[in-house]
């Protein structure tokens, strides 16, 4: 099924291997044995309906959801059992769905809050070149920005830390089409710069424009994995999963 993807130049070795991942919120089991991998330099989406377990998957990778079994291997290191800050220090950046811009911090403080953990992150100049709006509004309170600007800030701040893998949770959510397009271009640019990206999306059109492969999630399980070409060739297949 993945022969196409494996032939792609991007299909280097797996950077992140998720195997039989189950996760719980308190007593309720949300993930039921997720298995997929993310290759170096790849842009992978997790798509599926609301409540399918996409966000929980990212939160499990980051260790925000503590109760989890199975294996999450990042560049040879097992993440299960590690604390969130230890996982982040291995080089994983996380942009949460709620964006989590800090209202008691200025835009500049928000942007420079995450410490540089390793080399290879964007320089301050490159960052401001990619996000000119943030420079213009550096002194404002973080939450005074528009939704789109807050989203850009939430992405921008994890790019200077040197993280090689970035997890983006629904960056297009609740934004106007023109802003979604802008964010799509930014994500495209990040991929071109060598970032490996896992993107949680419900917006199929948006996902198609940026992704290499798509992992379809349903009821806390992976039900299908398709390349972007396969997706474009057979939209019916995915629409049955998403129920659209």
């Amino acid at each position: 099924m993945n022969s196409l993807a494996e032939a792609r130049p991007v299909a280097a070795q797996a950077m992140l291997k998720v195997k039989s991942l189950s996760a719980w919120y308190a007593e309720s089991k949300v993930l039921h044995g997720m298995t997929f991998d993310v290759r170096e330099g790849e842009l992978l989406t997790l798509i599926g309906r609301n409540g399918a377990g996409k966000t929980t998957t990212l939160r499990s990778i980051m260790g925000i959801v503590r109760k989890r079994t199975g294996s999450i291997n990042f560049s040879g290191q097992e993440l299960i059992g590690k604390r969130t800050f230890e996982i982040a220090r291995l080089g994983i950046g996380y942009c949460p769905e709620e964006r989590a811009i800090f209202s008691s911090l200025s835009v500049r403080e928000n942007l420079f809050l995450p410490p540089v953990l390793r080399e290879g992150g964007l320089s301050d100049e490159a960052l401001y070149a990619t996000f000119p709006n943030l420079k213009a509004r550096a002194g404002s309170q973080g939450t005074k920005l528009s939704g789109g600007e807050q989203q850009m800030l939430a992405i921008a701040r994890i790019l200077r830390t040197g993280s090689r893998l970035v997890l983006l949770d629904e960056p297009s959510e609740g934004l106007a089409p023109v802003v979604v397009k802008e964010i799509g271009e930014i994500i495209h640019g990040l991929k071109a710069q060598g970032f490996t990206i896992v993107l949680v999306e419900q917006n199929l059109r948006f996902a198609r424009q940026v992704a290499d492969r798509h992992v379809v999630v349903e009821n806390g399980k992976v039900v299908d994995i398709l390349t972007n070409e396969e997706l474009s060739a057979d939209m019916g297949r995915i629409k049955t999963y998403l129920g659209v």
Binding site: M62, T84, S104
Partner: protein, 293 residues
């Protein structure tokens, strides 16, 4: 209204109010910092203040180390005690209801005070004034030590505020205050930060205790009698608002002092009357940000 009130009395009480306010400010600032980051209502704060004074007394009487050494050493010693307490007692309670932290810190306060009373009795121990003398300002006599306390406390509050509002470390603290989980995803060891923050808040309490030693008696109950007012200050200022806590501390000290001149009978309740009015007008506290209302 001020007719018949001597300026001597007025300024005397104003100074006293400012002194009390200095302690209210420093103590409530520590409480606000701890509450802001950890959501712990630190009922041990008064006992930690008392410990600061006791450590100063012990250093002087057993090791011969004077006031100026104590000003540095006592907060470090008591902060160390606080950090051990945070790791062993508060961290396991972190994910439970606030009430557990409140009860646990209250229990520690009772134990520490009880031990101090058992060892040293409830009458206070004297601590020599390190800066004797004063200056006659014409309208009043100003003891140098009291001037030192007011200036030192104002400087401490401003430095603490600058540290929190204008440094990277402070930005971590403010961010973790809002959303500790996300701050942790940036690779920051938030649990360690909590331990250090608790230590810092406790250190501030102990520092106040050292400052207080030469003015008040060093006694086991010196903290608990002050804490009721300090909690009122924090509530009025807005839980977790650092500047609010400090400004309210000085303000209430002065209001209390003035009340002693104008209508002495009300002096012990004026702060609580003020609290009722302030909370009626601004339920989240006078300096709380809009979001938390």
């Amino acid at each position: 209204m001020f007719e018949g009130i001597s300026t001597q009395l007025l300024f005397g009480q104003l100074l006293l109010g400012l002194i009390n306010g200095s302690f209210y400010a420093m103590l409530s600032m520590g409480l606000a910092i701890i509450f802001g980051l950890m959501n712990v209502v630190n009922f041990t704060h008064g006992a930690q203040y008392m410990l600061g004074a006791f450590v100063a007394w012990l250093l002087l009487n057993h090791l011969g180390l004077g006031y100026w050494y104590s000003l540095i050493l006592a907060p470090i010693v008591v902060a160390g005690f606080g950090m051990v307490m945070e790791r062993l007692l508060l961290r396991p309670l972190q994910n439970l209801d606030h009430l557990y932290g409140l009860l646990a810190t209250y229990a520690v306060a009772l134990i520490v005070e009880g031990l101090a009373r058992y060892q040293y009795g409830s009458t206070g121990l004297p601590y020599e004034n390190p800066i004797s003398g004063g200056v006659n300002l014409g309208f009043m006599f100003l003891p140098y030590y009291r001037l030192w306390v007011v200036v030192f406390s104002i400087v401490t509050c401003i430095v603490t505020w600058l540290l929190i509002e204008h440094t990277k470390l402070g930005a971590y603290l403010r961010a973790a205050n809002e959303n500790p989980r996300i701050v942790e995803t940036f690779g920051i060891n938030v649990p360690k930060m909590m331990t250090l923050t608790y230590g810092f808040g406790v250190g501030l309490a102990a520092l106040s205790g050292v400052l207080a030693a030469p003015i008040y008696q060093v006694s086991p109950s010196m903290g608990s009698s002050l804490m009721i007012v300090v909690f009122a200050v924090v509530v009025i200022g807005g839980m977790g608002s650092i500047m609010g806590a400090a400004v309210t501390g000085y303000m209430l000290g002065i209001i209390e002092g003035l009340t002693k001149v104008i209508y002495p009978e009300a002096a012990s309740v004026v702060i609580f009357l003020f609290m009722i009015v302030a909370l009626y007008l601004r339920p989240a506290g006078m300096f709380a940000s809009k979001e938390s209302v």
